[in-house]
Each structure stands twice: as C-alpha cells, then as structure tokens.
C-alpha cells in the first residue's frame, strides 16, 4: 500500500505560512512590549505568546521532518532549541533576540518557498542567521539524530528467546492489553505461550479490570532482542519482563509483511471547524449557483405568462426556491470570503522595518481585520494597500524632530480600518503626518503638464492630482516609494476591482485615504437598459442619476461631440446605439433617457431607449467565452435566456471625456457663458 505523502505538501506549506505570519505578529507584540518597558527592566513575556511561537516552529519542524525537507528541519530545530530555552526561562527575549527571531521567520519563509517551488536559495542569508542561532547555544544539538526507519530495526543477535512477561495489575488502565503484545510477538516468529494463572483470585473476588495473568513465552525464528524490546516498549514500566536467549540460530530471510488495504484515493473527509478549499472548486460551485439563479429567473417568467389561477401555487414554490437559492448563494459566496486581516497582518512588520530604516517612530493601529472580502479582491488589494502604507511612512510621517518642532507627539500614528457597509467594504488609511503639500503638488503638476499653469483648484481637486499617472512629489527617488509605481497604479487596481478611492488631507494634520471595494466580483447589482433590440446592463454603483433631456439642452462641439450641462458641469453625451452599432436615427433624444454615469472620477451621459429595471446578475466573462470587446466588461444571461452585455462604464467614459478635474477647472467660466457659446469646454474635454 503506497500513500503518496506529497499530497499533503500544499496543506503543510499553507499552514506553515499562516503559522509564520502569526509568529511574526507575536514577535512584534513582544518587541512592542520591550519598547514600552524600561531599558534595564526584565520583561516577562506572556507565556501564551511564547507558546504560540514555539508551536509554530515545532509544527514546521515536524512537518518538514515528515516530508523530508532537511534544511527546513535543521533550521527549525535550531530555532526550536532557542525557543525551548526561552520557554524554560533560561533566556529572555530581548531586542537582539526578537530581531534575530524575526529574521529567522524570513529564513523559514525563504526555505519553505524553496521547498515548495524548487527555487534556489541564497545560502549566505540562511547561514548568517544559522550562525547567530548556533552562537547562542554553545553546543548545537544535532537535528533529528535518529533515523526513524531504523527504529525497531534489526540489531543485536537473532535467536530463540524465552520471555517471562508479568504485567502489573493496572495494565488495562492505560488502554494496553497483553493480548496485543502476544499477537505482535507472534508476527515476529513462532510463538509458544504458557499462561501463568497463579495470581488468579477466587471467582468471587475477581475484579475484571485487574490483570492477574502472567506468561512464559518461547519465541523462535529470526528475531533480535531489540525487536522484542520494541514490542514491549509502551509497557516496559508496567510489567516484569525477562528476555533470555536460549540458543543462536542462523539468519534466515523473512518475508516482509504485506499490508493489505485498498489504495482508494478517497480524500479524507475533513470534519474539523475549518476547511481549506481550492479556489477552482469554489469557482465551479459559484458557477453552478449562477446557473441556478438563471433557471429561477426563467421559471419566474414562465409563470408570469400562465393563467392567474394556476400560477398561485407555483408562485409560492418559486418564492421558496428563491429564498433557498439566496441562502445557498450567500453561503457559497462566503466560502470565498477571507478576512482582510490576511492583508493587514503583513503591515506591522512592514511598518516596523520601514520606520526603523527611516528613523521614524510610528504606532500602527489596525481595526476591523475580521471584515471579510472576496479572495480575489483580497489578493488584488494587498499590494496597493502595502504601497499606500509605505507611501504614508515615506512621505506623510515626519521625523521625530520635525514632529516635535511642529508641536506634535513624536510617535506618529497610522490607523488602518476596515468595515462593511452594505455591499461594500470601506478601508481607511489615515496618518497624522504632514498632510499633502498643496503648493508642491500643484507646482509639480504644472511642471509635468498635468494642469494648466494658472489653473485654480480647490483643496480636494489638488489632492486628487496625486492619483494622476506619473505623479510624484518625492524630491528624490527613494528606496521605498517614488519608483514610478505611484498612486495612479493603486487607483487603477482599485478601479479594476470596481471600487474607488478618495483622499482628504489637511496640511500639518495628516492624510486620510478611503477605499471602497465591492464584497464580491461574481455578482453585480445592475440596471437593465434597452438600446434598440439589445439589452445592456449598467452596474448600479456607476449610475449617478437618469434624466430626460430636451434637444436644446445638448450642445454640439466643433469636433461633433455632444455635451450637456449636469449639476454645474458639462458632461459628454454618449449615444450607445452609435457606439455599438445598430440602426441610427432611433436614438432620439426626445424619447430616450439619459443615464448619467460616473467612473474613474469622470462623468458622462449614456443615451438609451428605455430603463428596464434593476436586477442582480451573475457575471460571465466575455473574454473566456468570446473575446475582449471595447466598452463591454462582461456578459450575463437574462431570464429569457438571451445574453446581455455588461457595459464597461470606465472604458466608455474614458474614451470620450477628460477627467472631471479638468472639466471643473474651467467650470466657473463655462457655466456663466451663454448657452450657445461653448468653445472653452472643448479644451476642458480633451
């Protein structure tokens, strides 16, 4: 029977990674405690924190040993020895040791990554930490000194043995059974059993839970003393045991015991409190649920066309189906949800390392780490979030000297919070640093030709400039940020997830970023709109309002573009029928409806024939089923089975309009101008 233990590698790697993450945060917690304590005061770390760290290393060592990742085993063994000393109170975790342990965490991550992917490791990094760990022990203990395959192996002389075996009376209370021992011995060779019943009391006094019997055994065959001792190893202290050699025997080959059993590759059923599910499996489930939702919609429509009497019962059943489906959907979606703590827990280490590097003192306050988000969103928000915190440390937070001079506490504060509001998750990143330097930003923006030299912008508009491509106020490109990956990339990442980001800042008091993210990427609240014979879906979050326009409210620019006034600004009008083809002429402004949408900070009006109502839709990728189409983000299947395309509002709006910001910069002039004259917005629009 062969069980391929490689199938457990993935779990081991995942679990080890999680363990190391919690170890890291525990170490940071200890370090935090050290910094608040007096320099020469011995700090007593919380034993549970130490135990957590110890267990992580212990588990990694155990797993690595099982799977034969030698380097990981040796390294974690070294680490475990140190931690054992600490746990036993022989050693205190001071700053250098906490630092060393943090570096050891990094080493283990590197070694595990290498064991996982076969990537090469720079041995110098590991050896340096190894040497430091070894230096802490005068005599490094060899890791896993005993080869397990050799345990109970053939050693000593083979022969025939006489064994006197008298168990203690309480043998049964440890769950042991002399029969088990006899059976085991009989597998080693030919066993002759004599039972000694001398200690057996009269029947009336017999206590069935007490072991009264003893045995004299004769075992012949190719058996070594060690093999016999091994059989008794669990109960060596619970019995009188004499093993005597009777005579030597020549060594005869013994057949290896065959192990029966079906090697059925049935996955063991995990029945614990948590389960690790592959994303692929989850995606399939999500797909199936999507299909169910579609089926339900189809049924609904069928019933709607039934006679009034026959429909009632069906309706009740359908209501039930809808409820069930919703539950199923919610639960299945929940499996894909992960707490945002997965991202947040990388921050303490980041803040520690960078603030040390920059000589800044920062307290990181994290809250709402239990807020759950779709796994994909979590994965894609991770880098932007880290980048923003890095930015804040580099640009936002002042040095302690600067802070003192400004009358602020020397220790700066970065606050990260996540919370769920409706179908969205709000992530806030706030610092009490110097805030965005408006003059500097404006100056830089003008230098880079991002805004006209004499433009007058409000504070909010200036703050928005930091999101423009290629923008940086850093005077020199530092190691940390300003390497070309700017906030524009951060914003694009967030937009591509269907979220958005805002910034508020006050000079001298700090900067506050607010990120809004959808809970999931698989289901969308949309508004159906009719354009000719086609139905399109507009994501509800992108819609500002819908309105009817009179032809005279539309102005035509020299380039042929049409614009209309909306809330003190001008927005371009997009006739969807012209964008996607179809018979022209029918897109009559008199009968159609303009849906004002906003994306990436830009607005536009979409002219459609009719609004069809709001519905929840299941997103189907167009790219994987057909190909990419400009202006379309995805597709869905409607109740009548037809395909509807989901509009890519960002793409549509981006294709015709400049950022709202530029539009706004000329808004006061444009709004006050007579309606017929509209040359200035042209510049604004392009």
């Amino acid at each position: 029977m062969a069980i391929d233990i490689r199938q457990f590698h993935q779990t081991f790697f995942d679990e080890s990674h999680e363990g190391l993450v919690s170890m890291e945060s525990a170490l940071l917690q200890i370090e935090q405690g050290l910094s608040t304590a007096l320099p020469n005061q011995a700090t007593t770390s919380d034993p549970e924190v130490l135990n957590t760290i110890f267990r992580v290393v212990h588990s990694i060592k155990g797993g690595a040993g099982t799977f034969g990742f030698g380097w990981v085993t040796d390294f974690s063994h070294l680490l475990e020895t140190l931690l054992d000393d600490v746990r036993a109170g022989h050693r205190q975790v001071d700053r250098p040791i906490a630092g060393l342990l943090l570096r050891a965490v990094d080493c283990l991550q590197i070694l595990l990554a290498s064991a996982r992917s076969g990537s090469s490791v720079d041995p110098a990094v590991i050896e340096e930490v190894t040497a430091e760990l070894e230096a802490l022990h005068l005599t490094p203990v060899p890791a896993m000194g005993i080869d397990l395959a050799a345990t109970g192996a053939v050693a000593g002389k083979a022969g025939t043995w006489r064994i006197r075996f008298i168990p203690k009376a309480n043998l049964f209370f440890s769950g042991n059974d002399p029969l088990r021992v006899l059976r085991e011995l009989s597998t080693l060779g030919k066993l002759h059993v004599e039972t000694d019943m001398g200690r057996l009391p009269p029947w009336a006094e017999l206590d069935p839970e007490i072991c009264y019997l003893g045995w004299t055994l004769e075992l012949s065959g190719n058996v070594t003393r060690d093999a016999i001792t091994e059989v008794f190893s669990w109960i060596a202290d619970d019995c009188e045991l004499e093993i005597q050699s009777i005579q030597d025997q020549s060594v005869a080959p013994k057949a290896a015991s065959a192990t029966a059993g079906d090697s059925d590759a049935d996955q063991a059923k995990a029945r614990g409190t948590s389960i690790r599910v592959s994303t692929h499996k989850m995606d399939t489930l999500v797909d199936i649920v999507g299909e169910l939702v579609i089926t339900q919609t189809i049924l609904n429509q069928t019933v709607a066309q039934f006679g009034p009497d026959s429909g009632q019962r069906l309706n009740a059943g359908l209501a039930q189906l809808e409820r069930n489906l919703r539950q199923l959907q919610e639960n299945v979606m929940r499996i894909r949800m992960l707490p945002i703590g997965f991202v947040f827990n990388r921050l303490p280490r980041l803040v520690r390392d960078i603030s040390q590097q920059l000589g800044k003192q920062v307290e990181l306050k994290i809250s709402g780490e239990g807020t759950e988000l779709d796994k994909t969103v979590i994965e894609r928000i991770s880098d932007p979030l880290l980048h923003m915190v890095r930015n804040s440390l580099d640009h936002g937070i002042e040095t302690p000297q600067e802070r003192r001079a400004a009358g602020k506490p020397e220790i700066a504060c970065i606050r990260i919070d996540a919370s769920q509001r409706g179908g969205h998750v709000i992530v806030e990143i706030e610092d009490d640093g110097r805030g965005l330097d408006q003059d500097k930003i404006l100056k830089r923006a003008v230098e880079r030709g991002l805004v006209a030299a004499n433009t007058k912008l409000s504070a909010e508009q200036i703050a928005e400039l930091v999101f423009l491509p290629g923008f940086t106020t850093a005077d020199s490109v530092s190691d940390l940020s300003g390497r070309g990956v700017g906030l524009d990339v951060v914003r694009n990442n967030i937009y591509s997830l269907g979220g958005n980001i805002d910034v508020r800042t006050q000079a001298g008091h700090g900067t506050h970023f607010t990120i809004r993210l959808p809970l999931t990427l698989a289901i969308l609240d949309g508004l159906g709109v009719q354009v000719g014979s086609q139905t399109y879906i507009l994501p509800l979050t992108s819609i500002t309002e819908s309105m009817a326009l009179a032809p005279e409210q539309i102005r035509r620019l020299p380039g042929g573009e049409e614009i209309f006034q909306f809330r003190q600004e001008y927005a371009p009008l997009i006739r969807l029928r012209r964008v996607f083809g179809g018979t022209p002429g029918a897109d009559d402004i008199n009968t159609g409806i303009v849906v004002v949408v906003e994306a990436n900070g830009r607005r536009a009006g979409l002219l459609v024939d009719d609004l069809l109502g709001q519905q929840q839709i299941v997103i189907k990728s167009l790219e994987s089923h057909y190909r990419r189409v400009d202006g379309i983000s995805a597709a869905t299947i409607l109740g009548d089975g037809t395909v509807a395309l989901i509009l890519d509002v960002g793409g549509l709006v981006g294709a015709v309009s400049a950022p709202l910001l530029n539009l706004n910069s000329t808004q006061s002039a444009a709004v006050n101008r007579p309606a017929s004259q509209s040359s200035s917005p042209v510049r604004a629009l392009h």
Binding site: I5, T52, G62, G65, T66, R180, T259, G272
Partner: protein, 120 residues
Amino acid sequence: MATIMTVDDTATMRQMVSFTLHSVGHEVLQASDGKEGLALAKSKKFDLVIADVNMPNMDGITLVRSLRALPEYKFIPILLLTTESQDSKRQEGKDAGATGWIVKPFNPEQLINVVRKVLG
C-alpha cells in the same frame, strides 16, 4: 472498521493521519486541540485516539488524563504523537494514562502498522 479520533493543532498532521487511516477503511474524525477532542469524545465513542502533545487550549497530556476520567474511555487505547527529543513528555503521557506513543516524523506505513497493532 474502527472509529478513530485524531487530535492535532496542525492541519497537515490531521490530514495525513486522517487520510492514511481512512485509506485502510477506518472512520477518522478530527479535532484541533485537546478541548475540542474531549468534547468530540463525549459526543461519540471512539475505538482509538491519536493525539499530539503540544496543542493550544488543552495539551495532549491533559486530554489523556481527562479522557481516562471518563468511564467510556477507561480502557480505550490513546496514543500520543511525540518527537524523538520528548522523552520526558512520553513519561508524563504514560503517567497520565496514555497507551503508547508514535514518534514523529513517521510515514503513513508506520502509522498504519501501529494502528493495526493496537486495534488488532
């Protein structure tokens, strides 16, 4: 065949024990620490318990002691997973009433052999 409980705070170990013993026909339930294991043991009768020593909330030794205090688990085999270097833990485990131990690291075949030895 038999109903076995594996108690371990690492999912890797639980999965390995569970999968291995399941593959030879045993029913295996999992618990992630001693506390959970004890609760599970009270809700269902197991023929064998395999527990790690080092666990949060309740360690393996305490679990053994607690199980032995239950009438249904007075004679049920309980095996502890120990490492080579944990001699003292082994003795502690025995004193608490453990039947025996399995030394980590072990491979699936070794585990199957030990379980067969215990269950017969």
